[in-house]
Subunit: 341 residues, 2 copies
DNA sequence: AGTGGATATGTAAGCGCTTGCATTTTGAAT
DNA sequence: ATTCAAAATGCAAGCGCTTACATATCCACT
């Protein structure tokens, strides 16, 4: 009686149940094609042996991995967490596994990750945002890999997208801020290079400013990478302007949280001395005090719909239609009227 | 001239470079075993074709995947993010890829994930905490899969572990709180079932309480799952006690943030009316105001060392020694003396 | 009992790669 | 020139699975 030194294989199961490997395979993949008695015998052999199918072998033979890859800019904060969570729940429902990797907001890493995921046999890919080297799109279409963009909706893009209109969302928020009477507006944006979401959000603010008759000089912008400390630093810089802004719009909630902390450290009252807004409505926005006025993004809905659409694309070889989702402004205490008219 | 309908294979490259597939394979895996001229020819064929090795095939043939799997309880908050980040950076350095999945704190999901990762050919596994069904340990050792536990150090465990002494860390913090003069202590713990870290932290508090001559009745405990809202709810419950606690120790920073928010909503001053402490020292602890007194865990060091150790175990078939890391208390404004002596 | 179509199972050919071993080439030393 | 070990390359056998196709078995009707 030798103990198996490594994983039992289909063959071991087949021998034990006294059937062919084909039958064992069918038992596992399409049980109804096997008669009850045989199936029982096979299944009991399976767990007597503790058999687990070898994934690599299966992928290779079936040319199908039931795996979806997703590449997000970062896992360090919660921005993509909730959406990804429901994306993966929905995939799980449909029998797919999600493989996630992060690109640290770097295009070249994203490209490498895409290749890696494909080499690993991903049946489809979820990407964030539209900005990337065109040759990646060529590669994807040449290899016929279904791919979908999330977090940014664009009607005429190379890949179908499920997301929202970043420009319009920020336009609305900025307009709201201006209506409250703010005229000196500060902006803390994420790096716009290769990031259409950041770029479009800034554009939304610009449009709102010029649309409401303010001068470009009423607007001061700092661009920085998405980290709390950078939000704090940018806040310091912005408040050095003369006159200092009375409202600061941040590219996301993380930057806003950093700005808020810095304001407190500088002894400034929010929103009394200065208003601060975020974007995304992640948990953080409600935890800080005062809680952040922000743009609510329907993360869960987005994740779920992206999963459905991507699975549809994979299974029926369709192109995917994309869908625009609505955002809404969430008013919380971090935004108020400017101090003196 | 037909365009390739799917990915080019080793064979395509071999034909184009007019060598055997073996040579191409060697070019890619041990370049020094191939003479320069040939190598050049092969490599240029590789990128003329845009060849990417098929991962499944490679794993199958080599019986080695250069992949490490990690299963963490949750990705929803940042508790494991930083440690995992450095774990993966270190792995990347060493040529390994990290596959992460989360178990949502559910043992049965963790078990499934372990099987999945192994089926996918993971060369080694990182697990969080020691509490789990013994048959999982049997399975792992029978299959000879190197595995390492992090976030909790225990000298005599089935698997080597790299982490800290959860009991001692919390004992120190609780002792410190008691020294400040607090006698009514509230505890918001994570679910202890199947979670040795949560269990040991509570134990540390109990030990500190009884060790300093307080009665068990001075201690009120609420157990709940690790979510912000639950921290808030637990806080409400605890403050209903008579007398209410003057200090509340939370099982982690997330629960503490929830408690803090709730305190503010109830119009209580922290630490004036009640002190609150966390555990982990994630970014959140510094963002909330007042910032949280908490236990600092050397996440990055832990991640890095775990990676080194696990790779060592995988490559040299060693057993792994484990290592205990030191934590330290970080004093921030959320903890103060009780109101009246 | 005999028949035929449906149903269940078996056979075997790959999937794309790595690697032990066999073969050829190389080049230094004779 | 010749020899021969070392270096470079080729050959071919798998790795564990799926699946088209072939074969065997079943059962409802004559």
């Amino acid at each position: 009686m030798e103990k198996p030194r490594s994983a039992p294989t289909l063959d071991d199961v087949a021998k034990m149940a006294d059937v062919s490997t084909a039958t064992v395979s069918r038992c596992l993949n399409s049980p109804d094609r096997v008669v009850e008695a045989t199936r029982k015998r096979v299944l009991s052999a399976v767990d007597a042996l503790g058999y687990t199918p070898n994934f690599a072998a299966r992928v290779m033979a079936a040319k199908r991995s039931f795996t979806i890859g997703a590449i997000i800019p970062t896992m360090e904060n919660a921005i993509f967490a909730r959406g990804l969570q429901s994306f993966q729940e929905e995939l799980h429902q449909r029998g797919y596994t999600l493989l996630v990797s992060s690109s640290a907001y770097k295009p070249e890493i994203e490209e490498e990750q895409i290749r890696t995921l494909i080499a690993r046999g991903a049946d489809g890919l979820l990407l964030i945002g539209h900005d990337r080297d065109p040759k990646i799109y060529d590669f994807l279409s040449q290899r016929k890999i279904p791919a979908l963009v999330a977090w940014s909706y664009l009607p005429d893009s190379k890949l179908p997208s499920i997301g929202f209109d970043n420009r319009a969302a920020m336009f609305d928020l900025a307009s709201h801020v201006i209506e409250l009477g703010h005229t000196q507006i500060g902006v803390i944006s994420g790096l716009v290079d290769g990031n259409d979401r950041a770029r479009l959000r800034v554009q939304g603010i610009r449009d709102a400013v010029s649309g409401s008759g303010l001068e470009a000089s009423n607007l001061t912008l700092v661009e920085t990478s998405y980290e709390i400390e950078n939000g704090a630093k940018a806040f310091r810089d912005l408040m050095n302007a003369d006159p200092p802004p009375t409202a600061i719009l941040c590219g996301n909630d993380v930057l806003a949280a950093g700005a808020l902390r810095q304001a407190q450290e500088m002894g400034l009252d929010v929103p009394g001395d200065v208003s601060i807004t975020g974007f995304d409505d992640i948990e953080l926005a409600r935890i800080v005090s005062p809680a952040l006025t922000t743009v609510h993004v329907p993360h869960r809905e987005m994740g779920r719909k992206a999963a459905l659409q991507l699975v549809e694309m994979v299974e029926n070889q369709t192109t995917g239609t994309g869908e625009q989702l609505a955002t809404r402004i969430v008013n919380r205490p971090s935004l108020g009227k400017p101090a003196s008219g």
